[in-house]
């Protein structure tokens, strides 16, 4: 029996009430990650006939004895030739309960950068472990990155259970092993599910081969994991993106501050302070396409107007008087390096933080993290592609920020090479 009811799925009323779960998948080429995603898409009827036809043809040409669902997710020709995934690919499917966005990232050591990218917008991470091999270095690395990026929910799928005779003992041993390691991490919610992506056991439908497993299937878990409280609703932060000034007859003196609520709740009448000026005013209205809203919360994009005419521009931030972010030019970061060109000690870079752009200098590398052992290396401080380290920077102007742990959006920065304009680093403020 399929859990997806076609008739129920697309009634507009239901569709408009669905929420959104973004998750990332991590696993190596051989863990069956692509097969698992193919299975989710296939069993949730998110694959169309022409797509299926294309992969059937390719499977046949390549001499596979079965329809290789992994082919569905291997997008670029360069990858198909090499048989590996070289970038973050986004996939979509929906059930009557939720809509899902998968950031599909490759698992090789050299692709830490892609995992970090995929995880930066995710609520949940699926880690795949081959039941025959148990917890390997790579599983630990994936879990560490999920934790570093403050992903609150981890689903550990122990895959290929069909190849270990659906053994409960194997499952329990791997689970215990992973638990021993995960106590060092900061992931509050971890699930363990024995599956076979190839055969579909416990992916969408409950497996008949593992009566001993009393937990939920993967899809049920994805549909029901509680994500409503993942947003920070306490520390109100509104970085100003753009000033709306229509300058027409009807809205002659209108000055609206357009932006996205990055944390907290704003209501008309709220006393707010504009940073960096420190001037205060009250919210006059929260505008959205002619409507006046009673409140705005993350991740809404709205336009605020204020009672007083104070000077505010892009890069400024509206906050509440009794709850202000940190303001500093000296900032400690955990950084993941994304570029072949190594980080230059004392080098100058451009930083993007919320809607603000400043220049900065790398003052110091505190340590580099061995992402397999979590050991802090204070001897080798060179930060190159896929390295993760703790650094101290000084910015030309103060930033208004929170720690990444407190709020992902006001606690994150990207680092840009001034000469090539490439995004070379991702930073999480400590």
């Amino acid at each position: 029996m399929s859990t997806i009811l076609e008739e129920e799925r697309f009634i507009t009323e239901n569709y408009l009430n669905m929420d959104l779960l973004r998750f990332t998948t991590a696993g190596s080429v051989d863990d069956g990650k692509s097969t698992l995603i193919g299975r989710l898409l296939y069993d949730s009827k998110s694959i169309f006939a022409d797509q299926l036809e294309a992969i059937e043809k390719t499977s046949e040409n390549k001499g596979y004895g079965y329809v290789n669902l992994a082919l569905l997710t291997d997008g670029l020709r360069a990858e198909r030739e090499q048989g590996i995934t070289i970038d973050v690919a986004y996939r979509y499917f929906a059930t009557p309960k939720r809509k899902f966005i998968i950031a599909d990232t490759p698992g090789h050591i050299q692709y830490t950068r892609n995992m970090v990218t995929g995880a930066s917008t995710a609520n949940l991470t699926i880690i795949l472990i081959d039941a025959r091999h148990g917890v390997v270095e790579q599983s630990r690395r994936h879990a560490f990155i999920a934790s570093l990026l403050q992903i609150k929910h981890l689903v550990v799928c122990i895959n290929k259970m069909d190849l270990v005779n659906y053994s409960q003992e194997v499952f329990e041993t791997i689970k215990k092993d992973f638990e021993g390691f995960s106590t060092k991490l900061e992931v509050p919610d971890i699930h363990y599910i024995p599956i076979s992506a190839l055969n579909g056991d416990n992916v969408v439908d409950k497996s008949d081969n593992m009566d001993w497993y009393k937990g939920a299937t993967l899809l049920y878990t994805l549909e029901n994991v509680h994500i409503a409280s993942d947003h920070n609703l306490i520390d109100a932060r509104f970085p100003v993106q753009y000033v709306v000034r229509p300058m027409n007859d009807e809205f002659h003196d209108y000055r609206g501050f357009a932006g996205k609520v990055e944390a907290g709740i704003f209501k008309p009448g709220d006393e707010v302070i504009a940073l960096p000026s420190g001037f205060s005013s009250k919210i006059k209205s929260i505008d959205f396409f002619g409507e006046q809203l009673n409140e705005a919360f993350p991740p809404m994009s709205v336009t605020l107007t204020l009672e007083d005419n104070i000077d505010i521009s892009r890069g400024d931030m509206l906050v509440k008087a009794n709850n202000q972010p940190e303001i500093s030019q000296d900032i400690e970061l955990m950084v993941c390096w994304l570029n072949e060109k190594k980080m230059i000690p004392n080098g100058k870079y451009v930083i993007k933080h919320t809607t603000k752009e400043v220049r900065c200098m790398i003052k110091e590398v505190r340590y580099k993290v061995d992402i397999n052992t979590l050991h802090k290396n204070e001897e080798d401080k060179s930060i190159g592609l896929n390295d993760i380290g703790r650094i101290l920077i000084r910015t030309t102007l103060p930033l208004f920020f929170d720690s990444y742990k407190k709020n992902r959006t006001t606690g994150s920065v990207i680092i840009i090479d001034e000469f090539t304009n490439e995004t070379v680093g991702a930073g999480m403020i400590i």
Partner: protein, 299 residues
């Protein structure tokens, strides 16, 4: 209780991206095809900058092979919202000799659009162009960024795309380079239809069921028009059809359908067995067709 539904989240994300572009770039434009995706973009742009008018022009790259209904819709829309419209004509590129009409039994001006698009971008010095592409449309698009960097030749290098993290978008560029920006990257075909229904956005009449002369070719139904040359054994028939996408008349397939309301279209899309691009001859030429066209600077 403070939980935004998925469509509201997608809307908020798209609006955020549009505002970023207007803040980060000097001279943006919105590529408008008359199709439902670019119609959604226009609605999102109206929302992003209200009560201001949309602070950038709409650009239509016109192959000259249009559904007349799409052009009528375009002109009405532009008048209603008070936007500026710029049309780049493929015919002009052909007349200038920068584009050469395809030969053979199944000529299409679809590929030539790329040339005219790049010429238009250069002429008006656009540094960012919004497009309505979605990642669910086609394999090569699954890895597309929101901010997609193009070099000075307008080309896309899949191996040299900037990582995109959180909601921090890097639009920095050297002189002569530009960006394509795809605010509805994370939307699916169903999301677009549901949004159009929920927001009661008008769409061109050809999306709804109507009687039309068609030609059956390579398992596709093409709308008959002066731009189609009948092949051997091919004949014109009348069928009850509608368009799933709106593009160049010579290569956009129509589907047999009786769906005459948005609700009926949504029901049809939900049970459809072929992706919407499945009806486009331009994608069928080779398995990596889209990847190749993107590299050359296609939408």
């Amino acid at each position: 209780m403070y939980n935004l539904t998925h469509l509201k989240q997608l809307e908020a994300e798209a609006i955020h991206i549009m505002r970023e572009v207007v803040a980060q770039f000097e001279n943006p434009a919105l590529l408008f095809s008359g199709g439902k995706d670019s119609i959604c973009l226009v609605k999102l742009a109206e929302k992003a900058f209200w009560p201001s008018k949309i602070p950038f022009p709409l650009v239509h790259i016109d192959t000259g092979h249009n559904f007349p209904e799409a052009i009528q819709y375009r002109d009405e829309l532009v008048a209603r919202i008070g936007a500026k419209l710029i049309v780049g004509n493929v015919q002009d590129s052909i007349d200038k000799g920068t584009a050469v009409e395809e030969k053979g039994p199944n000529p299409s001006r679809n590929g030539l659009q790329t040339i005219t698009l790049l010429e238009t971008i250069e002429k008006y010095k656009f540094d960012a162009c919004f497009g309505g592409a979605r990642r669910d449309e086609e394999k090569a698009r699954a890895k597309e960024r929101f901010f997609s960097h193009r070099d000075e030749f307008g080309q896309w290098d899949p191996k040299n795309q900037r990582p995109e993290l959180w909601n921090l978008y890097n639009g920095k560029k050297a002189k002569g380079e530009h960006f394509r920006v795809f605010p509805i990257s994370n939307w699916t075909e169903m999301d677009v239809w549901q949004y159009i229904a929920a927001e009661q956005i008008p769409i061109p009449s050809i999306y709804f069921s109507h009687e039309r002369e068609i030609v059956e070719r390579d398992n596709m139904l093409l709308a008959n028009s002066p731009f189609i040359t009948l092949g051997k054994g091919e004949q014109v028939e009348k069928r009850i059809v509608r368009c799933r996408t709106v593009g160049d008349m010579t290569c956009t397939g129509v589907v047999e359908s009786t769906a005459s309301t948005l609700d009926e279209i949504i029901q049809e899309v939900s049970s459809a067995r072929v992706t919407e691009r499945g009806g486009r001859a331009d994608d069928k030429r080779s398995e990596a067709a889209m990847e190749d066209r993107k590299k050359q600077g296609y939408f």
